[in-house]
C-alpha cells in the first residue's frame, strides 16, 4: 500500500499532467504562434535557465520580490506590534492600511512612475505598498492570538520586555509570519511583473513585454514559467521551514 506522501505527489502530478495534455491538444488544433507545443516551451524555459544573461533577468526579478517582501515584512511587523500594544496606534494606523488595501497595484505603479526616477526604488516602493497591509494584518492577527494564559505564566517570572518578545511573542507570531510570506509571495510575483512591465529595463516583466512585442507565445510562456518555478521553489522552501519550525504541533492520524 502506498504511503500518504506518495499518494499526495501522484495526485498533484496528475493535475499538472492533465493541464499539460490539454495544452498539447490545443497546440495540435490551433496555430503554434497561439499555442506552441510543450516541447518548445520546455526547451525555451531551459534555455533561459542556462543562458547567463537571461538568467540574470530572472535573478533580478527574484531579488526585487525578496527585497520588496523583506521591506514590507519589517515595516509590517513593526506596525503590527505597535498596533497590538496600543489602541490609539490601531485607531491611527489601521484605517490608513485599510485605505491602502483598496488601492489597485496598477495605481501604485502609476504613482511610482510619477513620483520617483530610480527604477529599483520604484519597484521596491510598489512591492512594499502592495504587500504591506497584508503583512501587517496577518502578523497582527497572530500577535492577538497570543494565549492570555501563557502571557500570565511568563509574566509570573517577571521578564524584561526583551524576554517577553524573545520567549513569548516571537514563537507566537512565527506561524502567522510564515503564512504571511506564503500568501504575499504569490501576490508579490504578480505585482513585480506589472511593475517591470511598465517601468523597468530588465527582469521577467520586461522580458514578457519584449515577447509580446515579438508576438512570441513560446517565449512568453517560458518567461512566465520562470516566475512560476520561482514561486513554487520558494513556497516549498517556506513549507519545509514551516514543517521544521512547527514540528511541535500534534498531527492527527485521521485526515479531515
Amino acid at each position: 500500500m502506498m504511503n500518504s506522501r506518495t499518494v499526495h505527489a501522484l495526485q498533484a502530478a496528475a493535475g499538472i499532467a492533465l493541464l499539460a495534455a490539454g495544452w498539447q491538444i490545443l497546440s495540435i488544433i490551433f496555430p503554434h504562434y497561439l499555442f506552441p507545443p510543450l516541447l518548445e516551451i520546455v526547451s525555451r524555459t531551459i534555455e533561459i535557465l542556462v543562458t547567463r544573461s537571461l538568467l540574470a533577468d530572472v535573478l533580478l526579478t527574484a531579488a526585487r520580490i525578496f527585497g520588496g517582501l523583506l521591506g514590507a515584512f519589517i515595516l509590517g511587523g513593526f506596525l503590527a506590534l505597535t498596533i497590538g500594544r496600543s489602541k490609539a496606534a490601531e485607531n491611527f494606523i489601521a484605517p490608513v492600511l485599510t485605505f491602502f488595501q483598496g488601492i489597485p497595484a496598477l495605481s501604485w505603479v502609476v504613482f511610482a512612475i510619477i513620483w520617483f526616477h530610480g527604477i529599483e526604488f520604484r519597484v521596491l516602493f510598489i512591492m512594499v505598498m502592495t504587500t504591506l497591509p497584508a503583512f501587517t494584518f496577518q502578523i497582527l492577527d497572530a500577535f492577538r492570538s497570543m494565549s492570555k494564559d501563557l502571557f500570565e505564566m511568563t509574566m509570573a517570572f517577571r521578564p524584561s520586555r526583551w524576554s517577553v518578545f524573545r520567549f513569548l511573542i516571537v514563537p507566537t507570531i512565527v506561524p502567522g509570519i510564515l503564512t504571511a510570506w506564503k500568501v504575499n509571495l504569490g501576490n508579490a510575483a504578480r505585482v513585480v511583473v506589472v511593475a517591470e512591465l511598465v517601468g523597468a529595463t530588465g527582469g521577467v516583466g520586461y522580458e514578457l513585454l519584449r515577447q509580446q512585442q515579438l508576438f512570441d507565445m513560446a517565449g512568453a510562456m517560458a518567461w512566465t514559467m520562470q516566475l512560476v518555478l520561482f514561486v513554487l521553489i520558494v513556497q516549498q522552501a517556506i513549507t519545509t521551514l514551516e514543517t521544521w519550525v512547527l514540528r511541535y504541533r500534534a498531527v492527527s492520524e485521521r485526515a479531515l
Binding site: M153, R158, Y248
Partner: protein
C-alpha cells in the same frame, strides 16, 4: 523584611471589577485580611467563583487591590514588579506549557528569564525533571505527554527557579484522582524539603486538609469564613471534625 514578619499579608483588601455590560461593579474580595508565615503551607478553600483566584492573582502581582494593602515579603507585588524576579513560583490550574518548547525547554523558561548561566540552567532543569519522574522525557513536546506528566513539568518549572514562595491555583483539579494524589504527595514533600512558603488554592476539602498546615475557607465575595490549623499530630477524629465543620461552613453559604 524582619525575620518574624509574615511573608504574605493581606490587610482589609477589597477587589472589584467593572462588569463589561455596564451593570456596575462586581465585588470579588471584601475586607480580606490574613497573614502567612515563612515555611507555612496554607490551603485556601472555597466554592467556584468565591474569589480564590483573584486573591491568588493579587499575591502573584498580576492584578492590584482596589482598596486595602497586600504585601509579599514586605513589598507590593503589583507595583514593585521587578523586586519579585525569581522569588515567586507559580503552578497554574492548567499546565500552561509552551507548546513549541520541549519539556526541558519549558522548565528552562524561568531560568532563561532570570539570565542564569545556560549550562547551570540546563543542569537545574534536568535535575528537577528527574526529581519529578520525567527523566527520559526531556525532549518530548507537551502534546506527547499525558496530563499528569505535563503538570509535573509545570511543577518542575516553578521549583527550578528556587522561589521563596510557591503559589498553586488548583493545579491538580483536571487530573484523575490517583495521579492527583501522587502529585499532591510529591508536591508537599518538595515544599517541606526546601522549606518554602506555599499557598495552595483548591475547591476540594480532602485536598486542602491533606496539603495545608493551615486551611482558610472563603465565602463569596472572598473573606475568611473559617480557619483551622492541621499538623502531622492531628488525630483522625480531629480531622473528621474539621472536615464536618468545613462542610457546614460551605453549605451555610447557600
Amino acid at each position: 523584611m524582619k525575620n518574624d514578619e509574615p511573608v504574605i499579608r493581606f490587610k482589609d483588601v477589597r477587589k472589584t471589577f467593572y462588569r463589561p455590560d455596564g451593570r456596575g461593579e462586581f465585588i470579588a474580595i471584601e475586607n480580606l485580611s490574613f497573614e502567612i508565615s515563612k515555611g507555612e503551607i496554607v490551603a485556601v478553600l472555597g466554592k467556584t467563583g468565591c474569589g480564590k483566584s483573584t486573591m491568588f492573582n493579587i499575591v502573584a502581582g498580576l492584578i492590584e487591590p482596589s482598596a486595602g494593602k497586600a504585601t509579599v515579603i514586605g513589598h507590593d507585588p503589583f507595583r514593585e514588579f521587578n523586586f519579585f524576579r525569581g522569588k515567586i513560583g507559580i503552578v497554574f490550574q492548567g499546565d500552561r506549557l509552551m507548546p513549541w518548547r520541549t519539556a526541558l525547554d519549558n522548565v528552562l523558561l524561568g531560568l532563561q528569564i532570570l539570565d542564569i548561566d545556560p549550562q547551570e540552567a540546563e543542569q537545574t532543569a534536568r535535575t528537577w525533571l528527574t526529581r519529578l519522574g520525567l527523566a527520559g522525557h526531556e525532549l518530548d513536546y507537551p502534546h506527547a505527554l499525558s496530563g499528569g506528566m505535563r503538570q509535573r513539568v509545570s511543577i518542575a518549572r516553578a521549583f527550578a527557579v528556587n522561589p521563596e514562595i510557591l503559589l498553586c491555583d488548583e493545579p491538580f483539579s483536571s487530573l484523575d484522582e490517583m495521579t492527583a494524589r501522587d502529585l499532591r504527595g510529591e508536591f508537599v514533600r518538595l515544599v517541606r524539603q526546601s522549606n518554602k512558603t506555599a499557598v495552595f488554592i483548591t475547591h476540594q476539602i480532602n485536598e486542602a486538609m491533606e496539603i495545608g498546615d493551615r486551611v482558610l475557607v472563603f465565602h463569596r465575595p472572598a473573606r475568611i469564613a473559617y480557619e483551622t490549623r492541621l499538623g502531622a499530630k492531628t488525630t483522625e477524629d480531629k480531622r473528621r471534625s474539621v472536615n464536618n465543620d468545613i462542610m457546614r461552613v460551605l453549605a451555610a453559604e447557600q
